[in-house]
Amino acid sequence: MELDAKIPSGPIEKKWDKAKFDYKLVNPANKRKYSVIVVGTGLAGGSAAATLGELGYNVKAFCFQDSPRRAHSIAAQGGINAAKNYQNDGDSVYRLFYDTVKGGDYRAREANVYRLAQLSVNIIDQCVAQGVPFAREYGGLLANRSFGGAQVSRTFYARGQTGQQLLLGCYQQLERQIDAGRVQMYPRTEMLDVIVIDGKARGIVVRDLISGAISSHLADAVILATGGYGNVFYLSTNAKGSNVTASWRAHKKGALFANPCFTQIHPTCIPVSGEYQSKLTLMSESLRNDGRIWVPVKKGDKRPASQIPEAERDYYLERRYPSFGNLVPRDVASRAAKAACDEGRGVGETGLGVYLDFADSIKRLGKKTIEERYGNLFEMYDRITGEDPYSVPMRIFPAIHYTMGGLWVDYNLQSTIPGLFVLGEANFSDHGANRLGASALMQGLADGYFVIPYTLGNYLASAKLDKVEATHQEVKRSEQCTNEQVKRLLGIKGKRTVDSFHRELGKLMWEYCGMARNAKGLKFAGAKIAELEQEFWQNVNVVGDGGELNQSLEKAGRVADFFELGKLMCHDALVREESCGGHFREEYQTPEGEALRRDDEFAYVSAWGYRGAGNQPELNKEPLSFEYVHLAQRSYK
């Protein structure tokens, strides 16, 4: 398939202005004649639904949670980047753009990233106007902190709950539109298929999670903002309900899936404590501003941290990367932690952990300042581990956190199915092979508040959309397929629980398609997943029935899709014979053990097409060109 990213012509700083002028407009009186479906109510979906409602479109919004306020954006802790340069420390739109392309290890599309950096400043204005209580200085002006991968302080934050406050801001705008009758909200409703008619996305099939009823909703366009797929690893920092189902079903209906192997491992999570573990908890990266990461110099040193003298500690990030120190990007910090543990220098009972130590900062700034900055994170750590990080260093270990890959979209955020738009983490476009901290919130809100309102209008004004009836055969066929899958899952009545399969899949993914990958392991994992998937369809036990709230059934449908995605991820990781960002192939590294990119052969986006169960996916390539940020080996030394 020929992939047209539809990047506007002209110099990079004028592209978005040009696009906005070139886009066709829908006049205010006509907007109410169009209907739009938004799936997912996190930062991207919530902001899109609210803004499209404000503009006058008829919006239907869907989420599987009991309220749109609970989407997983709420758990983001550290902050949101914006090129405001309020600190007078040399920031600019261009620098944020540059840092993001470089941080993404040169696998993102320049034009999209530039637009993101431009819009970052509007986001902060918008959020403040909505009443988001960002941290402030005593003079009443906004405060900033620094974050990994940047040498300026451009991160805005609301204690350690920035995602919560931003999401509540957009949730409140969404509720305002619901009250005004412009958005109809469907909570506890899961999307299970996209309806494609005459090549265009015209609706979705959903299951009401309380009654079990399967029904269709039709519209002129469909927007997916359904988040990432980190839960394919079972253990991740994602919410338990986060899943790939909406994206995956769209993929099976023709939307290409881009760079699935680009997954982000977050360096600072609380280590795993046992087999029953159900999820991993992140400790915000902002902690690296004031915490120092170290392990003992000696292997197998089991002394408590307080008894290890300064000279026998290895502050390995400060040693290896003197200019960025503890603030290197996430992929670099994660691999360095893994290397230290692989050498036998890990700490804690399992040996899979490194220290994040605040003793020096507490000495320098006082306990009160540290408490103001990170109080809630310290409390959370204490609650989970039973240890007080004010007196003993935190133990942290990398965990799956974010997925840079996702449905392929063009500059207008439209997938390869016309009328199907994809926003936020669910798309692939802005973070390349590695996302910088505090940039996910920025992208979600940029897409929802400031990009889709323009690009959707252009689509609606240019597309010829015939009226679609609920009796259309495609609608019936999609509903029927969905019904059949539910029946099939309930009918297997095997011996194993859904979670036991999910856990096993997760272990395979983490072992062979996690922080470090190699060809042999990826081939092995691909075959193993196929076997496990086969067993799943013969031996899973989903109790209860389809006509009621059935949490096992919900999980079973999602895990079924994770199997298919897992195979594609391994395949993508196998074919990408280079290391870049979060994708580290052991065969491709520099003599110092850093990622070795192979730009001549792999400076492209892998956009995979679905060719039916059991068939090899089809690889489509979108070449990436770097006109502004010149390709270079990343260095944080």
Binding site: S47, T51, E54, Q65, D66, S67, R69, R70, H72, I74, A75, K84, Y86, N122, I124, D125, Q126, V128, A129, Q130, G131, P133, F134, A135, R136, Y138, G139, G140, L142, Q161, Q164, Q165, Q172, Q173, E175, R176, M185, P187, A239, K240, G274, Y276, S278, K279, E379, M380, R383, I384, G386, F450, T497, D499, S500, N541, V543, G544, E548, L549, Q551, S552
Partner: protein, 256 residues
């Protein structure tokens, strides 16, 4: 450690529920919900339906989870949602009674799952600042004294879990409602709609079937986010002031 659980089982909103007794083997590192996961895996193994409970982030921030453990919303640890409650706070042989939030405004959906849609409707009736996308001035245009920004943030931390309602003998949503009224009301951006907001949100809470506040303070005691009673005082002040100052809005709009 072996525990005895008595869990509220109710097939759906229409059916009668009752307590069922289970025994479960837990260990001290587990979270409370992981202990329930273990129970559910066992139940499924026996072909029985697992206990339904709401949960999502398991980090204490999404507000999905919550039920009553031995009469206390979110269980025995102060400032902690059930997903963050760990089993090291329990001991072998403990007998625990798990029940859903009880309030007529929160009908039971199934087992420990309740319908908290009323909270969304309270927010929809004014829990926002009307700031349409695109119309915002520069973020630093209006300085906000740190103490007000901090106070606003204290109130804004509410996760909407509903524990305050479950703990209140009147099933009042005052702590929840007042947290939003205070979050927005102490900021200059929230000032234009401050009175109207208080009037509408309080009216909606009443219409949804939540009771009045009689200053008992159970809500503050169980709130996992430390939302303070003083916000209820703030809400009452805004509400009373708004009721006094309420006057017919002029129907003459701007020119044009």
């Amino acid at each position: 450690m072996k525990l005895t659980l008595h869990v509220w089982r109710q097939k759906n909103a229409a059916s009668q529920g009752k307590m069922e007794r289970y025994e479960v083997e837990a260990n001290e590192h587990m979270s409370f919900l992981e202990m329930l996961d273990v129970l559910n895996e066992e139940l499924i193994g026996k072909g029985q339906e697992p206990v339904a409970f709401d949960h999502d982030c398991r980090e204490g921030i999404c507000g999905s989870c919550g039920f009553v453990i031995n009469g206390v919303a979110h269980g025995p640890m102060p400032g902690t949602t059930v997903c963050q409650l760990h089993m090291r706070h329990f001991k072998a042989g403990d007998e625990l009674y798990l029940e859903p939030w009880r309030a007529s405004a929160f009908p039971v959906v199934k087992d420990l799952v309740v319908d908290r849609g009323a909270f969304d409707r309270i927010i929809a009736s004014g829990g926002y600042i009307s700031a349409s996308t695109g119309s915002a001035p520069d973020a630093n245009a209006v300085p906000i004294p740190k103490k007000y920004a901090d106070l606003s943030m204290d109130a804004a931390q509410c996760i909407g879990c509903g524990a305050c309602v479950a703990a209140c003998p009147n099933a009042s949503a005052s702590l929840f409602t007042s947290a939003k009224i205070s979050h927005l009301g102490v900021l200059p951006q929230g000032e234009p709609e401050r009175r109207e907001r208080a009037l509408r949100m309080v009216a909606t809470a009443t219409a949804e079937g939540f009771g009045n506040c009689t200053n008992i303070g159970e809500c503050e005691a169980v709130c996992p986010k430390g939302i303070r009673l003083e916000f209820i005082a703030r809400m009452n002040r805004d509400y009373i002031q708004a009721s006094w100052l309420q006057r017919q809005e002029s129907s003459a709009g701007g020119v044009g």
